[in-house]
């Protein structure tokens, strides 16, 4: 169980995440949705101790992420951020094997090997295992990163925009894999996702954010409704049901442009990256 208690992040005078109180139950796939600048990625990064908080606390199974030994957390929670442009020549297998570092500390055992192979298979990357990352397409690289995260074999898997760079078939495959990981392996998967319909089709729960706050949460049927969509995105949409899932038809919707000021805010996260 992940508990966020009053989590706040500010960049200068802009509050990007504003006093978020949240409880993510163990098991299942939870999607965090919201317009650009809603603070989704920032919140996810703080949950995984990649960003420091300006207020509040996050606990994972009772462990305060700000105070717990990072190596202990690494065996319980894995995070993959978006925009992982790496200028490093590693093979896919090497990269995925580094996902085992929290367990193996660099001395891989048979069990580690099994996890690496399974993660490669899960992401359909087995045939590309010996290729260097810089020889892959953006989508293949994204799958390699997710495979690394799966190999880490943690109870909690946090993914920021895992559908980035993926075409439709691979996007569907990715969400199916994550859903399987939640169902078959009992993982707790939390994804930040842009496409509300992907969220609706694969999530057990959806958390809707806007302007740094969690404004709604519930099952897809509770969230993907015209009033909530209006509230979250400022869009008037039709919602239809197909195969038991509600889908928002947002094309040609009468848009009320959300304010732009929120979009510029999260760029502060980028500082500190030495390239």
């Amino acid at each position: 169980m992940i508990i966020c208690d009053g989590v706040t992040k500010r960049y200068g005078t802009t509050t990007v995440v504003d006093d978020v109180r949240l409880l993510i139950q163990t098991g299942g796939l939870t999607s965090i949705i919201g317009p650009n600048g809603a603070g989704k990625s920032t919140l996810l990064s703080m949950m995984a101790r990649l960003l420091t908080m300006d207020g509040g606390r996050v606990s994972v199974d009772g462990l305060d992420v700000a105070a717990t030994d990072s190596a202990v957390l690494a065996r319980r929670l894995a995070i993959l951020r978006q925009d992982n442009h790496l200028d490093i020549r590693l093979t896919v297998r090497d990269l995925v094997a580094f996902g085992r570092y929290p367990h193996s500390k660099g001395r891989p055992t048979i069990e580690d090997r099994v996890h690496v192979d399974r993660a490669l298979d899960y992401m359909d990357m087995g045939h590309l295992a010996d290729r260097f990352l810089d020889e892959l397409s953006g989508g293949q690289r994204q799958r390699a990163f997710v495979a690394m995260t799966l190999a880490q074999d943690t109870e909690y898997i946090l993914l920021d925009e895992p559908l980035n760079n993926l075409d439709m078939p691979h996007g569907v495959a990715m969400m199916s894999v994550l859903q399987r990981a939640a169902k078959e392996l009992g993982k707790t998967v939390v994804v930040v996702i842009h496409d509300i319909n992907f969220a609706s089709a694969y999530s057990d729960r959806i958390i809707a954010m806007r302007e740094g706050r969690v404004i709604e949460q519930g099952t897809p049927a509770e969230i993907v409704t015209p009033p909530v969509m209006q509230e979250v995105y400022g869009l008037t949409v039709d919602v239809v049901e197909h195969g038991g899932h509600p889908f928002a038809l947002y094309f040609h919707a009468s848009a009320v442009r959300p304010t732009d000021e929120a979009e510029a805010a999260p760029s502060g996260q980028e500082t500190g990256r030495v390239r």
């Binding site: 297998r93 001395r107 891989p108 048979i110």
Partner: protein, 331 residues
Amino acid sequence: MTARALPVVPRRERTANAAALIACAAAVAVLAACSLAVGVGRLSLSDPAASWDLISQSRLPRTVALILAGAAMAICGVVMQMLTRNRFVEPSTAGTTESAAFGLLIATLVAPGLPIWAKMLFGTAAAVAGTALFISILRAVPMRNVLIVPLIGLMLGGIISSVTTFIAYQGNLSQGLGAWMSADLSGVVKGRYEMLWLLALVVIAVWIMADRFTVAGLGEDFTTNLGLNHRRVMTIGLSLVALATSVVVIIVGAIPFLGLIVPNIVALFIGDNIRRAIPWVAFLGSGIVLACDIVGRLVRYPYEVPLGVVMGIAGSLIFLILLLKRSTPVD
């Protein structure tokens, strides 16, 4: 859970890899033998005592120094390139070499009687400080272009170097400074090279920590996610680099380009997984330095062209070729 270590690479590939590595080691051994045989003094079987003197007093120290310095400086390049995530960073493009020379100069000026190891510690401390300054400048100026990073390092090195030159000029120590800034092995004899064995320790330390440096090469987020303290890995890595640089600068003198070209060549063929790359980097580093030194000793025999000069010419050529052949455009 069984504790048996397993190779991540298939066996056949591993055998081929091992064979190539042995060939590489053999090539370095041949170069080392040539290095021992070449020189103005004649080795002759008729006077074994004199020959042995020559070898043990001058030739062997020189060859060992070349092997150690070559391997260590190439490995320093790998570590720095991982930690800064930039292919163009090495001690001489990050202000590290210049800072080490600055520290050595200050130590020589302030306390001329200090033993050489104490001066070396001064140099190391200055190199750590200079490199930390470089890293903090990089943090303050987030950059999109990979070439900006070494340019900043070169500028920083230039500033430190000009201050050092000024002080050396005032203190009448320009000649000593010149020896530090460009490698010259002619003064490396028995009794004046033993500190280089510290480099072997640095190489071993990097090898032990290889996975941590590779993880750091994935960036701060990945490093934290895998439960490592990014700052600590960075500090340890840069300290090892500073120590090695300081030792090489004081005993041999700076070896230009080595830390740039060797890691880039090895990355092309073997990749950046440091644990796998490290023997290649070490052998290639030693081999290139041995070859350049032999050329320097033969090209205008019986006179000697310093290693720094030969390396400067050969290194800049190889580096240019690497730059031009880089298939992916520079950002």
